[in-house]
Symmetry: C2
Subunit: 297 residues, 2 copies
């Protein structure tokens, strides 16, 4: 799963907490992502914003210093402190969430010892800063003990880690939820499909069953009726041979028998050649097979 620190926590709330923390402790926390983009920024010193970051040469030193400090964090779990090329101190620690280095925490700028005013006076001259205003900015930079800063960094890294881990857990749960929701949808669709298929299949099965029943019944009829019909046919042949046309009424009766035996044979023939299921209405609540339509002949 890909994630940045900003995906895991509410950065506006973290910004508010960082401001509150700065007012309470005098330690200004900032957070950047691993590419150096600022996510949370508190209490940047006037000496940085109004002087060092405004002059191209001192700005170049700021960037170099930031890069150097970030480099020191790679693969580390503790924190690093660094005296920047413009003479201030910064402290940084990696924020590791789910074994992933997602951001860097900075606490700076400050001095660990009272500043060397001579150094800064010279620096003002070198870069053409207004000496009075520049030294006022130097005086506003807090002087913090290393012990106090380490306590601050301990607290801040533990807090960032707790917030990040909770955020990661939320993110994992959210993704699991999406996955489960998709699964519910998939199961629901399959269920609907199955129910539709069932209806279709039922109609098909009834139809298939009907044809099978028709064919089996037709087979039985052909089987059972054929033999008696054949005997009848022989008997009619015999009687017609024996009796000839001597008696008109007898001759007509024999011809009627011949016609009916032939009609029955043709019916049996149709029954034997049924290939499809075709019905005709017989009465209001009864339908029967339409032999002509159902039979191939």
């Amino acid at each position: 799963m890909e994630y940045s620190f900003g995906d895991l926590v509410d950065l506006d709330k973290i910004q508010g907490l960082a401001e509150s923390f700065y007012r309470l402790t005098g330690i200004p926390p900032s957070i950047t992502d691993v590419e150096g983009n600022v996510l949370v920024k508190v209490g940047w010193q006037r000496i940085c914003t109004e002087f060092h970051r405004k002059h191209p040469q001192t700005l170049e030193r700021c960037v170099q210093s930031d890069t150097e400090l970030a480099k020191q964090l790679n693969g580390k779990t503790g924190y690093a402190s660094y005296k920047c090329l413009n003479g201030l101190v910064d402290m940084a620690a990696p924020i590791i969430i789910g074994e992933r280095h997602v951001a860097n925490l900075f606490a700076g700028q400050f001095f660990l010892d009272p500043p060397d005013r001579e150094f800064f006076r010279k620096q003002a001259a070198t870069f053409g800063f207004d000496e009075t205003e520049y030294l006022q900015a130097v005086d506003r930079v807090p002087v913090l003990s290393r012990e106090r800063l380490e306590l601050g960094m301990n607290f801040l890294t533990a807090l960032a880690s707790l917030l990040g881990e909770m955020g990661l857990n939320q993110k994992e749960l959210s993704e699991l939820n999406l996955h489960l929701e998709a699964k519910v949808r998939e199961r629901t669709l399959r269920l609907e499909h199955e129910m539709e298929e069932r209806k279709k299949a039922e109609a098909e099965k009834i139809r298939a069953g009907k044809l099978q029943g028709v064919l089996e019944m037709a087979g039985a009829a052909a089987h059972e009726f054929s033999q008696p019909l054949q005997t009848l046919s022989f008997d009619v042949d015999f009687l017609q041979g024996q009796l000839g046309d001597n008696d008109k009424e007898v001759g007509e009766a024999l011809q009627s028998m011949r016609d009916n035996v032939t009609a029955l044979s043709r019916l049996i023939n149709k029954v034997q050649n049924i290939t499809t299921y075709e019905v005709a209405e017989y009465s209001d609540d009864l339908q029967i097979i339409d032999l002509d339509k159902a039979s191939q002949n």
Copy 2:
């Protein structure tokens, strides 16, 4: 959804953060649930643990003071400060998560002004505390400005709220997960049931279809065969009446016809009385209706 603060956050981690916060700021945070059970406890003063909470009368005052302070929090969103009956100051704020008052945050004990040693000397005498040791304990209680404490409480309540809200979100996501998992299980079971039902239904539909097909075919056979058979029967009657027993062979042929017409009529009768689907093997790959078994007669 029911929840306590301990359901939402990792109390061990909060305890670690509180200790780290106390070392950094000198402000000792504690958290109790709304029933007063201690969840997180940091930096309790020796004057409380070794003196006030050991003597029954001063302990009684502690409990009264705690109750009074907690009462001040009910329905409030800000914080309350309270000078306890034993002379120390405590500050408290409700922790509201998801519009629910789940816990109270305390920062204490401390003094807002340098302590009145005379008051504590008298208190030592009243309750028989060792004066030197008691006054040493008094001296160890931090003196914190109201402004600093308010900054501390602001930070701590914002933090407790953020952690609690994240925890609540986690909890809601977890419950949604459980709900979704149950839904997936329910849908899966219904799907399996539907598939089984489909198989059963298909078998039933085939069987129903077969019977219907048989009955429709039987109806057709009875309908088509009856009329020619009846005519045959009349013709046989007529010829038997006309020809009598004059000629033995003719008589036998007529009797054979009578027998076969009767046989066919009986078959039609059976066909008309089919009520169930019963088959017999006819050849290797063909089965036909068993008229005797299928017919009610």
